[in-house]
């Protein structure tokens, strides 16, 4: 099991507390200072500082050559990121909402993700693709999706999903330094943008100096003995809140933040379930054919005998995301649903 744990749960007096948005921008800026090959491009990432604040301050420091607003031409600029990366640059490129992937997915999954393989490793593709995920604020079915499973399913891309600012910074540094494409998925409601109704626990102490967090190391963000709750991004916060509720019922839940989906830290999940015997996967992405199934299968195929009860999932139902608040909130995972899932588990 990984010994890394999130600092999310330990606020201290007078410490510097930073939003994910700022942690991302800080990581990018620090890398841009030491590496002239790093540059940023995307829609409204210049003067506007990114719709979600994650490029704020960059154009002021680095100018419009290295912080490039693009036309609304995702196929062209995703393809351009691939070409620039193969030519020695290290683009950090933004897809404003992950929901827009469909207009440019060929450039992402047929070029960005495969050119290393197609070149037998002779060509490197150090692209970081930042993209916003998540709903909960009534933005409708084309602006609220997570699509974790969609990206994690297709080989050739590393997939990062931070749940807090500390991880956001360290994972961004690792992403920029990686010679392979990294899809960096940040959840809008964790960004620390008040106008999106942010989850406060995502804003945590973040060291000013540069540091990196390795990919493929899940964090056990809360230890427990009776059930393992696995998630990413908002799912981690839902898991932690559910763990509080379960604790009030005398049930001790362990909460795992996968942090990266590719590579996936299957060992940490398996070892935790081996200890607790029970598994709940929380996923804000669509339920079927995605993350939740994969995590359950990961445990079941390795050794079914570690499971003391039927594993459960609390995921987004297989429906487009509705606009109206009551319908959207009904469909989203939440702590109560996790608690219910625990009690609904069929014991073997």
């Amino acid at each position: 099991m990984s010994t890394l744990t999130s600092t999310a749960a330990k606020p201290k007096q007078n410490e510097r507390r930073v939003t994910i948005a700022r942690a991302m921008a800080e990581a990018v800026a620090q890398e841009m200072r030491i590496d002239p090959r790093v540059f940023v491009m995307g829609e409204d990432i210049g003067q506007l500082g990114g719709v979600y604040g994650n490029t704020r301050g960059l154009i002021e420091e680095f100018g419009p050559e290295r912080v490039r607003d693009t036309p609304i031409s995702e196929t062209a600029f995703m393809g351009a990121a691939v070409g620039a990366a193969s030519d020695g640059m290290r683009p950090v490129v933004e897809l404003m909402f992950v929901d827009f992937f469909g207009v440019c997915f060929d450039a992402i999954y047929n070029l960005m993700a495969k050119n290393i393989y197609f070149s037998g490793g002779e060509v490197k593709v150090p692209v970081v693709l930042m993209t916003s995920t998540g709903g909960g604020y009534s933005d409708g079915g084309q602006h609220s999706q997570c699509l974790y499973g969609t990206f994690a399913h297709l080989p050739g891309m590393k997939v990062v999903c931070p749940s807090n600012a500390y991880d956001a910074k360290g994972l961004m540094v690792t992403a920029i330094r990686d010679d392979s494409p990294v899809i960096y998925m940040y959840h809008k409601s964790l960004q620390g943008m008040g106008w999106l109704g942010t989850e406060p626990a995502a804003t945590v102490n973040v060291p000013e100096e540069t540091y990196s967090i390795p990919f493929g190391k899940a964090a056990v963000v809360r230890e427990g003995n009776d059930v393992t709750i696995v998630g990413v991004a908002m799912g981690v916060h839902n898991g932690l809140k559910a763990a509080d509720k379960l604790a009030a019922q005398g049930i001790s839940a362990e909460v795992i933040d996968l942090r990266t989906l590719v590579p996936l830290d299957r060992d940490t999940v398996f070892n935790s379930v081996k200890k607790t015997g029970r598994l709940i996967v929380v996923d804000e992405d669509y339920q079927s054919f995605g993350l939740s199934g994969e995590i359950i299968a990961t445990v079941a195929e390795r050794d079914l005998s570690v499971l003391k009860a039927s594993p459960q999932r609390v995921a987004y139902p297989d429906i487009p995301i509705p606009f109206a608040r009551p319908m959207e909130q009904f469909a989203l995972p939440n702590p109560d649903k996790i608690v219910e899932a625990f009690h609904a588990m069929k014991r073997t």
Partner: protein, 328 residues
């Protein structure tokens, strides 16, 4: 082709309906969002793209259209929906997310569908193009009357969908018109920073179809040009393209601080607000008196008030209705 007096009045009234609607939505949108602006709160949550200033694009084109004609709007669809005759009560109820809304609250303001008047839209830039071309194809194949109009922003013209759909419509000679609302901005990015040509009308040449540039944000001039294009399409002579220079009098969406706008731009645009201009014109050219104006304004206001009241007072769908209507 010049609009008749009736058509001018129709355009004026629909511009007013659209503007009153936006102004009312603006107020209601801010309910529950003060002192802290949080998009998730209030009676109308989520993103809100207002169309203030762009009304001429909607009325100048739609004045020529019948319910059977097809229109696809953009992420900024209210003015177009109004001009196309979308059921206003249901539309407002949809914007509130209510059960009585066009989709029962599943869609929201970027997803307004009214099959009775053949209106649809999408929140994805440029993606109204293909469906409009497909509707035009359907009419041609079925030998049914009707043209299809796709609205698109000047920023969206740089999206591949524009190119593919224009070419397809031209190759198949479909009754299709692409209307570009050039408000000079794609969120915070100026047209000059995103578009390699000054006028998108020149891009019509890439498809061998007529291309027009309409300046002045003038409903009558838009009417004239759109009339030609639509007649052409109805005659079976194929697609055309119109770029309209218009103005975005609001932020990209509500909450946009617009720090990227050059100082003075907004004031200058407001000074050229097309609605007072249209009023002045009707008075100057068409003998509209203040009383007639007041009556038009009152009618427009009443329509909006009625729709708003309907939307506000309608109930939400049951939460679990979210699970319905995924498939037909």
């Amino acid at each position: 082709m010049q609009p008749t007096r009736d058509q001018k009045v129709w355009m004026y009234e629909n511009m007013l309906v659209s503007r009153f609607l936006e102004e009312t939505i603006e107020q209601i949108y801010l309910e529950g969002k003060k002192p802290v602006f949080n998009m998730a709160n209030g009676p109308i949550p989520g993103e809100m793209h207002l169309s203030n200033g762009q009304e001429p694009c909607a009325v100048g084109v739609c004045a020529h259209l019948k319910p059977e004609d097809v229109v696809t709007g953009t992420h900024r669809p209210h003015h177009i929906a109004v001009a196309k005759g979308v059921n206003l009560r249901k539309m407002v109820a949809e914007i509130f997310g209510k059960k009585t809304g066009l989709s029962g609250g599943r869609g929201g303001h970027m997803h307004l569908f009214d099959a009775n008047v053949n209106f649809a839209c999408s929140g994805i830039i440029g993606q109204g193009m293909g469906p409009a071309v497909g509707a035009a194809l359907s009419r041609k194949m079925q030998k049914k009357p009707g043209v299809a109009v796709a609205y698109i922003g000047e920023g969206a013209v740089n999206q591949g969908a524009f190119h593919e759909a224009m070419n397809l419509a031209a190759v198949w000679k479909l009754p299709f018109i692409c209307v570009i609302e050039d408000n000079q901005w794609g969120i915070s990015v100026a047209k000059s920073a995103s578009t390699a040509v000054k006028d998108n009308s020149i891009r019509a040449q890439a498809y061998g179809v007529p291309g027009y540039l309409v300046k002045g944000n003038d409903p009558c001039e838009i009417f004239r040009v759109a009339g030609e294009c639509i007649e052409r399409a109805r005659r079976g002579e194929g697609p055309s393209l119109i770029e309209i220079e218009t103005s975005r009098l609001a932020g990209h969406f509500m909450g946009d601080a617009e720090g990227y706008r050059p100082k003075g731009e907004l004031d200058a645009l407001r000074a050229r607000d097309p609605i007072p201009a249209m009023k002045a014109r009707l008075m100057a050219e068409d003998g509209m008196k203040q009383e007639e104006n007041d009556a038009i304004v009152a009618r427009a206001r009443a329509k909006v008030d009625d729709a708003i009241q309907f939307g506000r007072e309608s109930p939400y769908a049951q939460p679990e209705e979210a699970l319905e209507k995924v498939f037909a």
